[in-house]
Symmetry: C2
Subunit: 229 residues, 2 copies
Protein backbone atom coordinates (compact mmCIF):
# COMPACT_ATOMS: atom_id res chain seq x y z
CA UNK A 1 0.00 0.00 0.00
CA UNK A 2 1.29 3.46 -0.97
CA UNK A 3 0.40 6.26 1.40
CA UNK A 4 0.87 9.99 0.99
CA UNK A 5 1.42 11.72 4.33
CA UNK A 6 0.24 15.27 3.91
CA UNK A 7 -1.28 14.02 0.68
CA UNK A 8 -3.98 16.68 0.37
CA UNK A 9 -1.43 19.18 -1.03
CA UNK A 10 -0.66 19.52 -4.74
CA UNK A 11 2.39 17.20 -4.89
CA UNK A 12 0.70 14.45 -2.87
CA UNK A 13 -2.54 14.69 -4.86
CA UNK A 14 -0.64 14.57 -8.13
CA UNK A 15 1.58 11.60 -7.29
CA UNK A 16 -1.32 9.66 -5.72
CA UNK A 17 -3.43 10.25 -8.81
CA UNK A 18 -0.72 9.13 -11.22
CA UNK A 19 0.19 6.04 -9.24
CA UNK A 20 -3.46 5.03 -8.73
CA UNK A 21 -3.88 5.47 -12.48
CA UNK A 22 -1.03 2.98 -12.87
CA UNK A 23 -2.95 0.45 -10.77
CA UNK A 24 -1.58 1.12 -7.26
CA UNK A 25 -3.93 1.31 -4.28
CA UNK A 26 -3.20 4.50 -2.37
CA UNK A 27 -4.13 6.19 0.90
CA UNK A 28 -4.21 9.96 1.24
CA UNK A 29 -3.13 10.96 4.73
CA UNK A 30 -3.88 14.28 6.42
CA UNK A 31 -3.94 15.71 9.93
CA UNK A 32 -7.69 15.89 9.34
CA UNK A 33 -9.24 12.54 8.37
CA UNK A 34 -12.34 14.22 6.89
CA UNK A 35 -10.19 16.36 4.64
CA UNK A 36 -8.25 13.28 3.54
CA UNK A 37 -11.53 11.53 2.70
CA UNK A 38 -12.68 14.55 0.66
CA UNK A 39 -9.41 14.61 -1.30
CA UNK A 40 -9.60 10.85 -1.87
CA UNK A 41 -13.15 11.21 -3.22
CA UNK A 42 -12.15 14.07 -5.53
CA UNK A 43 -9.16 12.17 -6.87
CA UNK A 44 -11.26 9.01 -7.35
CA UNK A 45 -13.75 10.97 -9.43
CA UNK A 46 -10.93 12.52 -11.50
CA UNK A 47 -9.36 9.10 -11.96
CA UNK A 48 -12.59 7.44 -13.09
CA UNK A 49 -13.36 10.27 -15.51
CA UNK A 50 -9.89 10.13 -17.03
CA UNK A 51 -10.08 6.34 -17.25
CA UNK A 52 -13.40 6.61 -19.12
CA UNK A 53 -12.08 9.30 -21.46
CA UNK A 54 -8.85 7.60 -22.41
CA UNK A 55 -7.35 4.24 -23.13
CA UNK A 56 -6.62 3.63 -19.44
CA UNK A 57 -8.46 0.48 -18.42
CA UNK A 58 -10.78 1.59 -15.61
CA UNK A 59 -10.79 -1.94 -14.19
CA UNK A 60 -7.10 -1.65 -13.55
CA UNK A 61 -6.88 1.67 -11.77
CA UNK A 62 -6.10 1.56 -8.07
CA UNK A 63 -8.35 2.54 -5.19
CA UNK A 64 -7.87 5.87 -3.41
CA UNK A 65 -8.85 6.17 0.25
CA UNK A 66 -8.38 8.82 2.90
CA UNK A 67 -7.24 8.58 6.51
CA UNK A 68 -5.48 10.54 9.21
CA UNK A 69 -1.69 10.57 8.88
CA UNK A 70 -1.12 8.23 11.80
CA UNK A 71 -3.42 5.46 10.51
CA UNK A 72 -2.06 6.03 6.98
CA UNK A 73 1.51 5.55 8.24
CA UNK A 74 0.49 2.31 9.96
CA UNK A 75 -0.97 0.89 6.74
CA UNK A 76 1.91 2.00 4.53
CA UNK A 77 4.34 -0.28 2.76
CA UNK A 78 5.77 2.82 1.12
CA UNK A 79 5.06 6.26 2.63
CA UNK A 80 5.53 9.43 0.57
CA UNK A 81 6.25 12.65 2.49
CA UNK A 82 4.38 15.40 0.68
CA UNK A 83 4.13 18.14 3.28
CA UNK A 84 5.86 21.53 3.14
CA UNK A 85 9.30 21.36 4.78
CA UNK A 86 8.13 23.30 7.86
CA UNK A 87 5.72 20.45 8.65
CA UNK A 88 8.24 17.63 8.24
CA UNK A 89 9.53 17.43 11.81
CA UNK A 90 6.13 17.66 13.58
CA UNK A 91 4.74 15.11 11.11
CA UNK A 92 7.54 12.57 11.55
CA UNK A 93 8.40 12.77 15.25
CA UNK A 94 5.31 10.82 16.37
CA UNK A 95 5.52 8.38 13.42
CA UNK A 96 9.02 6.89 13.83
CA UNK A 97 7.54 3.68 15.23
CA UNK A 98 4.75 3.34 12.68
CA UNK A 99 7.24 3.88 9.82
CA UNK A 100 10.00 1.59 11.16
CA UNK A 101 11.10 -0.99 8.60
CA UNK A 102 9.29 0.82 5.79
CA UNK A 103 10.35 2.73 2.71
CA UNK A 104 9.82 6.47 3.11
CA UNK A 105 9.98 8.57 -0.05
CA UNK A 106 10.88 12.18 0.68
CA UNK A 107 9.43 14.48 -1.98
CA UNK A 108 10.09 17.66 0.00
CA UNK A 109 12.17 20.56 -1.40
CA UNK A 110 12.70 23.08 1.43
CA UNK A 111 11.81 26.40 -0.12
CA UNK A 112 10.37 29.80 0.64
CA UNK A 113 9.31 32.72 -1.51
CA UNK A 114 10.52 36.29 -1.26
CA UNK A 115 9.09 39.25 -3.09
CA UNK A 116 11.45 40.29 -5.88
CA UNK A 117 13.66 37.22 -5.52
CA UNK A 118 11.28 34.36 -6.17
CA UNK A 119 11.94 30.90 -4.76
CA UNK A 120 14.81 30.46 -2.32
CA UNK A 121 16.12 27.18 -0.89
CA UNK A 122 15.77 27.02 2.90
CA UNK A 123 19.02 25.82 4.51
CA UNK A 124 18.69 22.53 6.41
CA UNK A 125 21.15 21.71 9.19
CA UNK A 126 21.19 18.01 8.27
CA UNK A 127 22.08 18.94 4.67
CA UNK A 128 18.70 18.18 3.12
CA UNK A 129 15.10 17.46 4.08
CA UNK A 130 15.76 13.83 3.14
CA UNK A 131 18.77 13.47 5.44
CA UNK A 132 16.80 15.12 8.24
CA UNK A 133 13.96 12.64 7.69
CA UNK A 134 16.45 9.78 7.90
CA UNK A 135 17.67 11.13 11.26
CA UNK A 136 14.07 11.37 12.51
CA UNK A 137 13.25 7.87 11.20
CA UNK A 138 16.38 5.86 11.99
CA UNK A 139 14.66 2.52 11.34
CA UNK A 140 13.12 3.48 7.98
CA UNK A 141 14.73 3.44 4.52
CA UNK A 142 14.51 7.02 3.30
CA UNK A 143 14.65 7.63 -0.44
CA UNK A 144 14.71 11.16 -1.91
CA UNK A 145 12.73 11.45 -5.15
CA UNK A 146 10.16 13.44 -7.19
CA UNK A 147 11.15 16.84 -5.72
CA UNK A 148 11.57 18.34 -9.20
CA UNK A 149 8.38 17.05 -10.77
CA UNK A 150 5.68 19.64 -11.45
CA UNK A 151 2.73 19.21 -9.08
CA UNK A 152 0.49 21.04 -11.56
CA UNK A 153 1.29 18.61 -14.35
CA UNK A 154 0.94 15.57 -12.09
CA UNK A 155 -2.59 16.67 -11.24
CA UNK A 156 -3.67 16.84 -14.89
CA UNK A 157 -4.09 13.18 -15.79
CA UNK A 158 -4.14 13.86 -19.54
CA UNK A 159 -0.89 15.89 -19.51
CA UNK A 160 2.19 13.96 -20.57
CA UNK A 161 4.86 14.13 -17.92
CA UNK A 162 8.44 14.95 -18.88
CA UNK A 163 11.90 14.91 -17.36
CA UNK A 164 13.83 12.73 -14.96
CA UNK A 165 13.33 11.74 -11.35
CA UNK A 166 16.78 11.73 -9.73
CA UNK A 167 16.64 9.20 -6.90
CA UNK A 168 19.05 9.30 -3.95
CA UNK A 169 19.23 6.75 -1.14
CA UNK A 170 21.65 4.80 1.00
CA UNK A 171 19.39 1.70 0.95
CA UNK A 172 19.80 -0.17 -2.32
CA UNK A 173 16.57 -2.21 -2.26
CA UNK A 174 14.47 0.78 -1.34
CA UNK A 175 16.05 2.79 -4.15
CA UNK A 176 15.32 0.04 -6.67
CA UNK A 177 11.70 -0.10 -5.51
CA UNK A 178 11.24 3.65 -5.95
CA UNK A 179 12.90 3.52 -9.37
CA UNK A 180 10.31 0.88 -10.38
CA UNK A 181 7.44 2.98 -9.03
CA UNK A 182 8.72 5.95 -11.06
CA UNK A 183 8.55 3.90 -14.24
CA UNK A 184 4.85 3.31 -13.66
CA UNK A 185 4.21 6.97 -14.48
CA UNK A 186 4.44 7.27 -18.26
CA UNK A 187 7.36 9.38 -19.56
CA UNK A 188 9.07 9.86 -16.22
CA UNK A 189 12.52 8.29 -16.14
CA UNK A 190 14.27 7.29 -12.91
CA UNK A 191 17.95 8.25 -12.66
CA UNK A 192 20.17 6.80 -9.93
CA UNK A 193 21.44 9.88 -8.11
CA UNK A 194 23.70 8.00 -5.68
CA UNK A 195 23.58 8.27 -1.90
CA UNK A 196 21.21 10.29 0.28
CA UNK A 197 23.90 12.98 0.70
CA UNK A 198 23.22 13.95 -2.93
CA UNK A 199 19.56 14.73 -2.13
CA UNK A 200 20.67 18.24 -1.18
CA UNK A 201 21.61 19.06 -4.75
CA UNK A 202 18.37 17.64 -6.13
CA UNK A 203 16.18 19.46 -3.60
CA UNK A 204 17.85 22.74 -4.59
CA UNK A 205 17.06 22.23 -8.25
CA UNK A 206 13.40 22.85 -7.36
CA UNK A 207 13.72 26.58 -6.52
CA UNK A 208 15.85 26.98 -9.68
CA UNK A 209 13.10 25.39 -11.80
CA UNK A 210 10.42 27.49 -10.07
CA UNK A 211 12.37 30.65 -10.96
CA UNK A 212 12.91 29.48 -14.55
CA UNK A 213 9.17 28.73 -14.76
CA UNK A 214 8.44 32.33 -13.89
CA UNK A 215 10.89 33.69 -16.47
CA UNK A 216 9.65 31.49 -19.33
CA UNK A 217 6.01 31.04 -18.15
CA UNK A 218 6.25 27.25 -18.39
CA UNK A 219 6.29 24.14 -16.21
CA UNK A 220 9.90 23.06 -16.57
CA UNK A 221 11.61 19.86 -15.56
CA UNK A 222 15.17 18.61 -15.70
CA UNK A 223 16.65 15.87 -17.78
CA UNK A 224 20.07 14.32 -17.28
CA UNK A 225 21.44 13.98 -20.79
CA UNK A 226 24.14 11.51 -21.74
CA UNK A 227 22.65 8.40 -20.08
CA UNK A 228 22.50 5.48 -22.48
CA UNK A 229 19.14 3.77 -22.20
CA UNK B 1 38.84 39.95 -26.33
CA UNK B 2 37.89 36.90 -24.26
CA UNK B 3 40.32 35.93 -21.55
CA UNK B 4 40.41 32.84 -19.37
CA UNK B 5 41.92 33.54 -15.95
CA UNK B 6 43.35 30.28 -14.73
CA UNK B 7 42.79 29.08 -18.28
CA UNK B 8 45.40 26.31 -18.25
CA UNK B 9 43.00 23.98 -16.39
CA UNK B 10 40.55 21.67 -18.17
CA UNK B 11 37.47 23.95 -18.10
CA UNK B 12 39.44 27.01 -19.29
CA UNK B 13 41.22 25.06 -22.02
CA UNK B 14 37.96 23.57 -23.22
CA UNK B 15 35.95 26.81 -23.32
CA UNK B 16 38.85 28.74 -24.92
CA UNK B 17 39.19 26.07 -27.60
CA UNK B 18 35.48 26.02 -28.43
CA UNK B 19 35.15 29.79 -28.54
CA UNK B 20 38.31 30.21 -30.64
CA UNK B 21 36.88 27.59 -32.96
CA UNK B 22 33.81 29.82 -33.26
CA UNK B 23 36.04 32.71 -34.37
CA UNK B 24 36.73 34.50 -31.07
CA UNK B 25 40.27 35.68 -30.23
CA UNK B 26 41.18 34.43 -26.78
CA UNK B 27 43.90 34.86 -24.17
CA UNK B 28 44.82 32.07 -21.79
CA UNK B 29 45.83 33.55 -18.43
CA UNK B 30 47.91 31.80 -15.78
CA UNK B 31 49.97 32.73 -12.73
CA UNK B 32 52.89 31.55 -14.88
CA UNK B 33 53.12 33.34 -18.25
CA UNK B 34 55.31 30.59 -19.75
CA UNK B 35 52.75 27.94 -18.84
CA UNK B 36 50.01 30.09 -20.38
CA UNK B 37 52.03 30.37 -23.59
CA UNK B 38 52.54 26.59 -23.69
CA UNK B 39 48.80 25.97 -23.26
CA UNK B 40 48.00 28.57 -25.93
CA UNK B 41 50.41 26.85 -28.34
CA UNK B 42 48.91 23.41 -27.63
CA UNK B 43 45.36 24.68 -28.11
CA UNK B 44 46.32 26.50 -31.32
CA UNK B 45 47.75 23.27 -32.74
CA UNK B 46 44.61 21.35 -31.72
CA UNK B 47 42.42 24.03 -33.23
CA UNK B 48 44.29 24.12 -36.55
CA UNK B 49 44.25 20.32 -36.82
CA UNK B 50 40.54 20.14 -36.12
CA UNK B 51 39.89 22.96 -38.60
CA UNK B 52 41.82 21.07 -41.29
CA UNK B 53 40.02 17.80 -40.53
CA UNK B 54 36.51 19.16 -40.53
CA UNK B 55 34.26 21.66 -42.20
CA UNK B 56 35.39 24.43 -39.84
CA UNK B 57 36.85 27.19 -41.98
CA UNK B 58 40.44 27.57 -40.73
CA UNK B 59 40.50 31.18 -41.91
CA UNK B 60 37.76 31.98 -39.44
CA UNK B 61 39.07 30.44 -36.25
CA UNK B 62 40.26 32.87 -33.58
CA UNK B 63 43.77 33.38 -32.31
CA UNK B 64 44.86 31.89 -28.98
CA UNK B 65 47.56 33.65 -26.97
CA UNK B 66 48.99 33.20 -23.48
CA UNK B 67 49.77 35.72 -20.77
CA UNK B 68 49.98 36.07 -17.01
CA UNK B 69 46.61 36.55 -15.31
CA UNK B 70 47.18 40.22 -14.56
CA UNK B 71 47.97 41.20 -18.15
CA UNK B 72 45.15 38.94 -19.38
CA UNK B 73 42.69 40.72 -17.08
CA UNK B 74 43.82 44.08 -18.40
CA UNK B 75 43.20 43.05 -22.03
CA UNK B 76 39.84 41.40 -21.33
CA UNK B 77 36.50 42.58 -22.56
CA UNK B 78 35.02 39.43 -21.07
CA UNK B 79 37.02 37.49 -18.44
CA UNK B 80 36.16 33.88 -17.64
CA UNK B 81 37.08 32.61 -14.17
CA UNK B 82 38.25 29.03 -14.62
CA UNK B 83 40.27 28.36 -11.48
CA UNK B 84 39.34 25.91 -8.71
CA UNK B 85 37.22 27.63 -6.05
CA UNK B 86 40.11 27.71 -3.54
CA UNK B 87 42.03 29.98 -5.92
CA UNK B 88 39.19 32.42 -6.59
CA UNK B 89 39.82 34.91 -3.79
CA UNK B 90 43.63 35.17 -4.23
CA UNK B 91 43.10 35.47 -8.00
CA UNK B 92 40.49 38.23 -7.82
CA UNK B 93 41.65 40.42 -4.93
CA UNK B 94 44.48 42.05 -6.91
CA UNK B 95 42.40 42.26 -10.12
CA UNK B 96 39.38 44.31 -8.98
CA UNK B 97 40.76 47.40 -10.73
CA UNK B 98 41.76 45.64 -13.95
CA UNK B 99 38.32 43.99 -14.20
CA UNK B 100 36.25 47.08 -13.32
CA UNK B 101 33.58 47.81 -15.90
CA UNK B 102 34.02 44.41 -17.52
CA UNK B 103 31.93 41.29 -17.83
CA UNK B 104 33.25 38.47 -15.63
CA UNK B 105 31.91 34.98 -16.31
CA UNK B 106 32.16 32.74 -13.26
CA UNK B 107 32.48 29.10 -14.33
CA UNK B 108 33.49 27.88 -10.85
CA UNK B 109 31.56 25.15 -9.00
CA UNK B 110 32.98 24.93 -5.45
CA UNK B 111 33.55 21.24 -4.93
CA UNK B 112 35.78 18.76 -3.16
CA UNK B 113 36.11 14.98 -3.34
CA UNK B 114 35.87 12.55 -0.47
CA UNK B 115 36.69 8.87 -0.61
CA UNK B 116 33.48 6.84 -0.58
CA UNK B 117 31.25 9.86 -1.03
CA UNK B 118 32.41 11.31 -4.32
CA UNK B 119 31.94 14.99 -5.16
CA UNK B 120 30.65 17.29 -2.43
CA UNK B 121 29.68 20.94 -2.80
CA UNK B 122 31.83 23.25 -0.68
CA UNK B 123 29.67 25.74 1.27
CA UNK B 124 30.31 29.39 0.38
CA UNK B 125 29.48 32.12 2.87
CA UNK B 126 28.31 34.49 0.13
CA UNK B 127 25.92 31.78 -1.15
CA UNK B 128 27.87 30.86 -4.27
CA UNK B 129 31.25 31.35 -5.89
CA UNK B 130 29.57 33.76 -8.30
CA UNK B 131 28.10 35.95 -5.54
CA UNK B 132 31.48 35.94 -3.78
CA UNK B 133 33.15 37.05 -7.02
CA UNK B 134 30.64 39.89 -7.31
CA UNK B 135 31.52 41.01 -3.78
CA UNK B 136 35.24 40.91 -4.65
CA UNK B 137 34.64 42.74 -7.95
CA UNK B 138 32.02 45.36 -7.07
CA UNK B 139 32.55 47.30 -10.31
CA UNK B 140 32.36 44.30 -12.65
CA UNK B 141 29.27 42.59 -14.06
CA UNK B 142 29.49 39.01 -12.83
CA UNK B 143 27.61 36.35 -14.78
CA UNK B 144 27.46 32.71 -13.61
CA UNK B 145 27.56 30.20 -16.47
CA UNK B 146 29.08 26.98 -17.87
CA UNK B 147 29.58 25.33 -14.45
CA UNK B 148 27.75 22.18 -15.56
CA UNK B 149 29.45 21.70 -18.92
CA UNK B 150 31.86 18.76 -19.17
CA UNK B 151 35.47 19.96 -19.41
CA UNK B 152 36.45 16.66 -21.02
CA UNK B 153 33.93 17.08 -23.82
CA UNK B 154 34.81 20.74 -24.34
CA UNK B 155 38.42 19.75 -24.92
CA UNK B 156 37.55 17.26 -27.69
CA UNK B 157 36.78 19.55 -30.61
CA UNK B 158 35.08 16.79 -32.61
CA UNK B 159 32.71 15.79 -29.77
CA UNK B 160 29.22 17.24 -30.05
CA UNK B 161 28.32 19.15 -26.92
CA UNK B 162 24.95 18.59 -25.25
CA UNK B 163 22.78 20.14 -22.59
CA UNK B 164 21.95 23.61 -21.39
CA UNK B 165 23.99 26.44 -19.94
CA UNK B 166 21.88 28.02 -17.18
CA UNK B 167 22.96 31.65 -16.94
CA UNK B 168 22.42 33.76 -13.82
CA UNK B 169 23.22 37.45 -13.45
CA UNK B 170 21.89 40.67 -12.03
CA UNK B 171 23.20 42.68 -15.01
CA UNK B 172 20.89 42.30 -17.99
CA UNK B 173 23.29 43.37 -20.76
CA UNK B 174 26.08 41.18 -19.47
CA UNK B 175 23.69 38.22 -19.28
CA UNK B 176 22.55 38.78 -22.85
CA UNK B 177 26.17 38.91 -24.03
CA UNK B 178 27.02 35.60 -22.32
CA UNK B 179 23.86 34.00 -23.74
CA UNK B 180 25.07 35.02 -27.23
CA UNK B 181 28.56 33.62 -26.58
CA UNK B 182 27.00 30.33 -25.47
CA UNK B 183 25.17 30.05 -28.78
CA UNK B 184 28.50 30.18 -30.61
CA UNK B 185 29.29 26.70 -29.30
CA UNK B 186 27.25 24.26 -31.39
CA UNK B 187 24.51 22.37 -29.52
CA UNK B 188 24.83 24.28 -26.26
CA UNK B 189 21.66 26.17 -25.40
CA UNK B 190 21.62 29.18 -23.08
CA UNK B 191 18.79 29.24 -20.50
CA UNK B 192 18.03 32.39 -18.53
CA UNK B 193 18.41 31.28 -14.91
CA UNK B 194 17.39 34.60 -13.35
CA UNK B 195 19.43 36.60 -10.87
CA UNK B 196 22.89 35.85 -9.48
CA UNK B 197 21.31 34.48 -6.28
CA UNK B 198 20.24 31.44 -8.34
CA UNK B 199 23.89 30.63 -9.21
CA UNK B 200 24.05 28.64 -5.97
CA UNK B 201 21.62 26.05 -7.28
CA UNK B 202 23.40 25.78 -10.61
CA UNK B 203 26.86 25.43 -9.04
CA UNK B 204 25.55 22.57 -6.88
CA UNK B 205 24.29 20.68 -9.91
CA UNK B 206 27.95 20.05 -10.82
CA UNK B 207 28.76 17.66 -7.93
CA UNK B 208 25.47 15.87 -8.61
CA UNK B 209 26.45 15.38 -12.27
CA UNK B 210 29.96 14.27 -11.29
CA UNK B 211 28.43 11.61 -9.01
CA UNK B 212 25.97 10.51 -11.70
CA UNK B 213 28.88 10.30 -14.15
CA UNK B 214 30.59 7.85 -11.85
CA UNK B 215 27.48 5.69 -11.45
CA UNK B 216 26.69 5.51 -15.18
CA UNK B 217 30.27 5.91 -16.53
CA UNK B 218 29.28 8.79 -18.79
CA UNK B 219 29.78 12.54 -19.23
CA UNK B 220 26.34 13.83 -18.27
CA UNK B 221 24.83 17.26 -18.66
CA UNK B 222 21.51 18.79 -17.72
CA UNK B 223 18.73 19.99 -19.90
CA UNK B 224 15.80 22.12 -18.79
CA UNK B 225 12.83 20.57 -20.53
CA UNK B 226 9.60 22.43 -21.25
CA UNK B 227 11.14 25.60 -22.76
CA UNK B 228 9.53 26.46 -26.07
CA UNK B 229 12.21 27.37 -28.57
Amino acid sequence: MLTFLGGTGPEGRGLALRLARAGEDVIIGSRDAARAADTAAELSALLNNSATDSDTDSAKVGRIEGSDNSAAAGQADVAFLTVPYEAQRPLLEPLAGALAGKVVVNVIAPMRFERGRGAIAVPVEAGSAAEEAQLLLPDSSVVAAFQNVSAEELQQPETEMKGDVVICADHREAKTLVMSLTQKIPNLRPVDGGGLANAKYVEQITPLLVNINRIYKIHSAIRIVGIRN
